[in-house]
Amino acid sequence: MGYYFANFIFILTCVLFGSYIFLGLFSAVALRKYLRKNSYINYNTLVLSPLSPHVSIIVPAYNESKTVLDNIRTLLSLYYNNFEVILVNDGSTDDTFDLIKEVYELDKVNYYFDYKLPCERIRGIYKSKNPSYARLMVVDKNNGGKADSLNAGLNISRNSLVVSIDADSMIEPDSLLKLVKPFLEEKDKKVIGTGGVIRIVNSCYVEKGFIREIRIPEKILPRLQVVEYTRAFLLGRMAWSQLNGLMLISGAIGMFDKETMIKSGGYSTKTVGEDMELLLRMRRFMAEKNSEYEVTYIPDPLCWTEVPSDLRSMRKQRTRWTRGLVESLLTHKKLFMNRKYKQLGMLGYPYWLIFEWMAPLIAFAGFLYTIILAFAGLVNWPFFILIFSFVYFLAVCLSIWAILLEEITFHKYRRKMDVMKLIGVAFIEPFIYPIYTYFSVRGNIESLRGKKGWGKATRNGFEKKK
């Protein structure tokens, strides 16, 4: 039994690495093509054009008093002409709403709307008395969670394109220009969603909601996540989007076709992975309607977010991600190996099921098994070292590949020392993997127990001393 288990894990690992290498190669080619094309695109033509489409940005906020003002300031100064910002205060218990109300001189308006998507009661809709903030609309509602707030925003929005962003994220000034472009291209397929790269803001020098200097995080945990995010976004998602198998547009930033969103039922309030669940549902909806569709991906860094800097917060975040993943995959189990859904059913779903959900659990079992057998004195240590080296060096190699791609494409970390630090972290990162698997196991356990909700997140705020 143990023999087969060991072989199974080994084969799984080899397939996983094989797929990483394939996705990495694929993504490198796609990135090169994208960057070359991008260098000839003048996004400024969109900035003031009367022909550019109207966009609603929905920002759910729950107890975000530390970051919300900076966030609104950043959003209102985006380079785009036709957009509105709908900030949804999800019954915050701190002074989030009072702060916004005071700073932006809010006044309740007689806004009439339809509850096309179910959401908690909306207590009031506010607009600023100051015409400079005419783009801003604030929705005050009873607490119902992030998905519920996004649904409320969708009910209020009057535009055909919707951007959902997290209140703790800072979006790049030109992000709307880049996100909207795929929707303007004439294609045989309808674009239903576009996502972009998320970067880590910890330790960056931020002033009044704008990043003045990009720095590598000082603490080790956020620094490790820089490598992880770079790898995931530049290698993984880029390739999946090329295969039309993208299953997730990060909740931090994503643009969607509102009509498809509403027709497929909006955000689900029953899961904490509402971003993944929504995209799966939208894709299912389009496939079941036999409509050709596409989910696109922009490899440009569009958004900056604060990541957990201590294990406790990280555990909460990762367990929540796992719960979201499990819930989304179980909700849409119909997709599994279902030809009707093409790449999504035959490739994307099985990959996520095996390598994103199951693999950490199997790995965890492997760790425990190793520990037990090591104590029993049954480990053939030379062979152990050989296997260890195989996994370790391949993992480091993939991380350095991702850093290299970042270096030759977007080149965000200008200081040589920062890149060296990233490389250093790539060597440490494989040792942290068991922690991630542990969080994943906990997430699965919580999911089995039926735990709901987001848990309390700790925010430090964006402002950092120079």
């Binding site: 023999y3 004195g377 296997i387 190699c397």
Partner: protein, 548 residues
């Protein structure tokens, strides 16, 4: 605390979960069937050695004792023949896991059994005669001490023989093959004996070593590339900046000073510098007009840079074509127009746009003439780009109604938009015709344009259309009616407010009523007073000036 301990433990074993590959198989005693395997594992588990008492128990319990495992059947048979003389039927050859195993299947009596050796733990070998380790192709051997000395010697001899002469001759070719197959290790390698857990894992071990070496090598390459690339990029950027500034000065001196073109000739010999010079010429030409522009063009032609651009225009690489189209368009050179026309139908949107821009720039009379030939859909992105080009440059704007009969719907949509943006009021008659277009998306733009351009003649048509239009177009009709308020429409709009259930339609109808001014507002207030239906909330929304 428990969690932290677990985490520390896990940390220690990071990334090595595969290592348990090495842990599972029992060493040398084979179980007769799978149900006994657990017992066997228990006996073996304490150490690499099997105790004498364990073997006695095994013997009593009729566990088989494996005397040898061979890859080749002939070798197994050779050993079998030697031993069979003493044990008779108790000796058997079985095939298992790709090996031919010689086993003593049942023994009676309480003879002492001495564990002699585990083949691959060469450091534990004591009995020289029984030291049958390190023989290629031989996996593991246990020889019972109860076997008479004669037989023991015989086993050892036979194995020795197999390993030295007969084995060598029989397997020479095979060994060579293996050595050829694997780069790093062959069966004889002492390293392999250390690592070789599966017994048949030469390929695996070699593959792992290849992967590890490959990863380290690739990693080092990546690291070097990262460092060198950064230095190269910085250096190239500095040089480019320096050259751009230098060439800009030279061009300005040439255009407005007394400098001759001689200085430029030396630049033309270097490919990189020539490209920087062309880029700088394009940059400067954007702000030039008249004589200066002509002089710059002359310099460009005199240096033969046009040949570079034309050559690039016919390149297979799309990004080179784009560069060339830009250069040719700015320098007004039409030698590659056929290629530019060809690229109008390219699958590559960026190339298509650049071809369109180049044709607009290179055309004297009708810059949008190419629209008559365009078969591919003309995307909104392309439309926006061309519109911006028109806005920011002094091109002759054509009468866009000439394209309203185009079979390409996207061209019709673009033309409608341009009619609106350039307020081409003479096109009203043509726009009204488009209201009957087959494509609802085209009709939608036409409805928008009638409203934006206050084409009052369209009102009656719009009213007629309302009933049969889709949701989006219905909303657009109501909006357009609001943009060109007419009291004649009041009854129709009130009807929409009353009969429609959709909030958005009701709001648009109410807005249109409100846009009629005093009459409209009065009418709305009257509706608010009536208690027939609760319209108050909609009307309050429409009348709230902070919202819209």
């Amino acid at each position: 605390m428990k969690n932290q301990l677990l985490l520390i433990l896990l940390l220690l074993f990071a990334t090595v979960f595969q290592a348990n590959l090495t842990l599972c198989k029992p060493f040398s005693i084979s179980s007769p069937d799978t149900t006994r395997s657990k017992k066997t594992e228990k006996i073996v588990s304490s150490d690499n050695k099997i105790t004498i008492s364990s073997l006695i128990n095994l013997s009593k319990a009729h566990y088989p004792i494996q005397l040898g495992a061979f890859k080749r059947k002939s070798n197994a048979e050779a050993l079998y023949l030697k031993i069979e003389a003493f044990f008779g039927e108790a000796v058997k050859i079985i095939e298992e896991d790709g090996y031919y195993k010689v086993r003593l299947t049942s023994r009676n009596g309480n003879n002492d059994i001495e564990y002699l050796n585990l083949v691959y733990s060469s450091d534990t070998v004591s009995d020289e005669k029984n030291d049958v380790s390190a023989k290629p192709g031989l996996d593991k051997i246990i020889v019972s001490a109860s076997v008479p000395t004669q037989i023991r010697a015989s086993i050892a001899d036979s194995v020795q023989a197999l390993s030295s002469s007969s084995y060598k001759t029989q397997n020479e070719q095979s060994a060579k093959n293996i050595q050829h197959k694997f780069i790093f290790l062959n069966n004889n390698s002492p390293w392999l004996k250390k690592f070789n857990y599966f017994g048949k894992s030469v390929a695996l071990v070699n593959a792992l070593i290849i992967f590890i070496t490959g990863s380290i090598f690739t990693m080092i390459l990546f690291l070097i590339f990262i460092l060198l690339n950064r230095t190269r990029m910085e250096k190239e950027e500095r040089l480019r900046q320096f050259l751009l500034e230098k060439y800009q000065g030279m061009i300005i001196n040439y255009l407005f000073g007394d400098n001759l073109s001689d200085g430029f000739m030396t630049i033309a010999s270097d490919k990189f510098r020539r490209q920087v010079l062309i880029d700088q010429m394009i940059d400067v030409s954007i702000n030039l007009k008249g004589d200066a522009e002509a002089k710059l063009r002359e310099l460009y032609l005199n240096m033969g840079l046009d040949r570079d651009s034309v050559k690039k225009a016919y390149s297979r690489q799309w990004h080179k074509k784009i560069k060339a189209f830009r250069e040719l368009a700015y320098m007004n050179i039409r030698d590659a127009n056929d290629e530019i026309y060809r690229c109008l139908e390219s699958k590559n949107e960026i190339l298509r746009i650049e071809a369109q821009i180049a044709l607009v720039r290179l055309s004297d009379d009708n810059p949008f003439e190419f629209l008559n030939h365009l078969e591919r859909p003309f995307s909104l992105w392309e439309q926006i780009t061309l519109y911006e080009l028109l806005v920011h440059h002094d091109f002759k704007v054509p009468l866009f109604h000439q394209f309203l009969s185009s079979p390409n719907d996207t061209i019709v949509m673009f033309s409608l938009r341009m009619i609106r943006e350039y307020k081409q009021l003479d096109s009203e008659e043509y726009v009204l015709k488009v209201l009957q277009h087959n494509n609802p998306d085209v009709r939608k733009i036409a409805i928008e344009v009638t409203g934006d351009m206050r084409m009052k003649q369209a009102l009656k048509i719009l009213k007629k259309m309302y009933k049969n239009e889709n949701y989006d177009n219905s909303i657009e009709i109501l909006r357009s009616m609001g943009k060109m308020p007419d009291e004649e429409m009041l009854g129709f709009l009130k009807l929409v407010l009353d009969k429609e259930d959709d909030i958005q339609l009701q709001i648009e109808a109410t807005k249109s009523i409100e846009n009629m001014g005093e009459v409209g507002v009065k009418s709305l207030k009257k509706i608010m007073e009536s208690e027939y239906k609760n319209y108050n909330i909609i009307i309050r929304h429409v009348l709230d000036k902070r919202i819209n």
